[in-house]
Amino acid sequence: MGTEIEVLQPGLFSSIQDFGRTGFLKYGVPLSGAMDNFSAKMANLVLNNRPDSAVLEITQMGPKLKFHSSTRIALSGADLSAAINNIPIKVNIVYSIKEGDILSFGKPVLGMRTYLSVAGGFQTEMELGSRSWYDGITSYYRLEKDQKIPIHPVNNSIVYTYSSVKVSQKLLLKEEVDVFEGPEFYLLTKEETDSLFQNAFSIDKNNNRMAIQLKEELKNNLEPIITGPVLPGTVQLTPSGKLIVLMRDCQTTGGYPRVLQLSNQAMDVISQKSVGGKFRFKLQTLGNNSFV
């Protein structure tokens, strides 16, 4: 058997991600990368990997994976009831894996996405400078049954001392996310900004790696804009009042008013919320912007 992981069951939605693709926005290629960048980085750091090594981003209902070689793994982020050979395991701890071991997931307990790292990082194809899966750029965009994912072989004959890292779960529980004014923020009325910052918002069932829609609507009279640049973290407001938070796989341009821009941490926080999960926007001022 080769050094790979076999997908016995794909689960809801999993994909290989690193920190994404830069330098190709001008061709319309999205940035991609881990939705919760912090947890992806943690999963790697626990294993002593490079922080930007490719990890498996696992969403809500995890896959069932069989290891065809020994390695070391770690999980970071959401608690999705992971188990090795049916024995429950924890996040942010290194586990040794033997050939034939099975990693499975159960009920989501806390958070939406967990990150699986393997020693040396996943060795899937590198396209345009990144291993992040994106439809049309990489051969796969989601985990599929019977798929084989290449990894580095690791000699586990040396007894490895389990190391664990204390990582605060605070981000998974956070209900306030930092935002900055977006380019069209100034067009909102006092009433509109008040309801934007005084009300709680929750995650709609329409949510994926491209965008997270919010359930609560914000009535407004904003006109569509001439199609302009958007980024992961841009919050668009549609004429019907829908708030759309663009995420890592978002398009490079859009035509709805861009009212807010999430901080990097806010994107990590919001990507850990499941449908119905509540939070508030907290307006922050950017750097020295006020002097300009």
């Binding site: 061709y27 319309g28 345009l128 439809d135 900055f180 640049p229 490079t252 341009t253 912007n289």
Partner: protein, 244 residues
């Protein structure tokens, strides 16, 4: 609120947005491409990415911008140059489109709605020289300007869940080619066999902002010939220098 264009603002922790007058025209595009080039040259040693849209430039940094004030001043300074050099090498690409009903799913609807014959639709769509403003939406998607008013038509009320790669559509004042199969709301009038995005080529898209595109009609049989030539790697878009 009175805006003095260009407006230079930070957009999140890692980007600066420059907004010019809210207009769509070629003079503004030339100005944008001139400044884009200037900013790119200034940042050549750093990992900074600059994109343009109709009236904006977005300058993206790899890391959080530390000294925003300095950065904005620098960009404002780079935007001061008044002598816009118009010598941007512009190329005209001839893009084949098959307007057969097999591919042009909404061709009959467009004819009915606009009271035109199929031949007239083809003539009106292939006559203009379109300007490439920028790429966005999906990898390799060209934002083209210059669609005749006579062909402007509303998008489909219910977007299609699956529009095939290469489909040529019109919607409002825009026309374009879908670079990959996916959902779409434009009225589909034809299909082009050309690959607008190839991740194995560098650059993955030959056509860049400021270039021109002209469509020419091909028969169903020619569509298949070109498709075959592409699969064998033996097809190149016909191009010529344009203007200047």
């Amino acid at each position: 609120m009175n805006l003095n264009f260009p407006v230079v603002k930070q957009m999140g922790e890692r980007a600066i947005l420059v907004q010019f007058e809210p207009e769509i025209n070629e003079m503004l595009l030339e100005k944008l491409l001139f400044y884009k080039n200037r900013i790119e040259k200034y940042y050549i040693k750093e990992k900074v990415e600059v994109i343009n849209t109709y009236n904006s430039l977005l300058i993206s940094y790899m890391f959080n911008i530390e000294k925003v004030y300095d950065e904005i001043l620098t960009i404002k300074h780079l935007l001061e140059e008044a002598n816009i050099d118009k010598n941007i090498d512009s190329r005209l690409f001839h893009v084949p489109v098959c307007y057969d009903k097999e591919f042009g799913w909404d061709l009959e609807y467009v004819c009915l709605e606009k009271k035109l014959s199929i031949e007239e639709v083809i003539r009106l769509h292939t006559q203009p020289i379109y300007t490439v403003y920028f790429l966005g939406f999906l990898p390799g998607f060209l934002y083209l300007g210059g669609l005749y008013k006579r062909l402007q038509i509303s998008r489909k009320i219910q977007p299609r869940l699956k529009v095939e790669k290469g489909s040529v559509g019109i919607g409002e004042n825009q026309t374009g080619i879908y670079p990959k199969t996916g959902p779409g709301g434009w009225q589909i009038i034809g299909k082009s066999p050309v690959e607008l995005f190839d991740k194995n080529k560098m650059p993955p898209t030959e056509i860049t902002p400021g270039d021109k595109v002209k469509f020419f009609p091909i028969l169903n049989s020619e569509y298949k010939e070109i498709q075959e030539a592409i699969s064998k790697g033996g097809f190149q878009l016909r191009r010529e220098n344009y203007g200047n």
